[in-house]
Amino acid sequence: MSLAHRIIPCLDTDGERVVKGVNFVNLRDAGDPAELAARYNIEGADELVVLDIAASRDHRPTFLETIRRVAGQLAIPLTAGGGVANVDEGRAILRAGADKLTVNTVAIHNPELLTALAAEFGSQAVVLAIDAKRVGDHWEAFVRGGSVPTGIDAVAWAHQGVDCGAGEILITSMDKDGTRSGFDCALTAAISKAVNVPVIASGGADAPETFLEVFGEGRADAALAASIFHDRVQGLGELKQFLAQHGVSVRQTG
């Protein structure tokens, strides 16, 4: 009996539609978020993440409506985020139906935001999302959808973020994102060793073996992927069956 490793489909949206691209560029339409959410809820996803990658103020009401539509389809937890800059915006996202918030760009310039969100909603509702890229012998945190380097060490930032109140880390490898060449296990393990909160690995998901690697060598508690699920390259049920056969604790449904 132990905590299951989670498999989390991610819906990157422009606020309204699911989009996908490689390394955060060349975005194209990948469907309706509520339809995909309904499918993943049935197929055995352990949680769902929906992000507003445009994160423009003008589109926020549209994104909140998207969260409401997605939440209406789910009997599993929902995490949402994109551009959350203060407690009120966080509250709006949770009220729309999310259980947890992701915070990224704003927190790195203002770590107190994590503290304020945790004080208001509890650490279990605050997910620190970090986009990291290998630079020399370490990983650097990038912001604004991965376009702007910060000069900040990703592992040190994860540690600081948890001290400030984050209850979970979502670590995305920008080197791996969209490449289908496997997760960055070294990055994920480095983050996982640095913090005592759950760590979600993201970027590079491909065959079931890549999940086995990130749960083993990568020490991840959860793994997130988008296109392999959207494009039906990988079924959730088969993936979990494979993992269970290889000794990984997973929640199997139906």
Partner: protein, 204 residues
Amino acid sequence: MNIALVEYGAGNLPSVERALARLDVESRRASTPEALADCDALILPGVGHFGALMRSLTQRSLVKPLRDAVSAGVPLLGICLGLQAMFAASDEAPGDTGLSLFPQNVSALPATGRLPHMGWNQLRRVRHSKLLEGVPADAYFYFAHSYAALDAGNAGVALCDHSASFIAVLEQGSVFATQFHPEKSGSVGAQVLSNFVRQAGGKG
């Protein structure tokens, strides 16, 4: 069937409403003593902070009506922080008094495992459970918490293990509670909610 969800600002109240709606069970929100006094069953949802929850219930003058409803035998289901609120106090908010339906305290889980205890875990059943009727023994439920009740005497009917052994399902008379979120626990969670509704006299 008149199920009232205690409304005091808890974030997961709409999720519980949706989960009940999927079972074709109607519910309404109750945020005043009068509304609490007039129902067949009560659900106390909860996420966040023990102290904030108790202060919010106190400000709305809901503490005594909740205790009175329990004394009168009105079925009550506490969810997550709603379970913890049933105890006398919590490490999370020293000095704040809980509903004290149980005399024990809620403890911080030891940091030997990752915290929060977040994700899907299995239960260890130690007594017959009405809430878990029809639920497979190896079912997974969704948890998200860092504090837990480690002891509730004979009321603890199922335990979970993460850093420590803690109470996952609590039942005593008409008082029911789960540390996990049934409204977020897929079909087995729906079964738990349905079992509660049946206990409360509904068709579940």
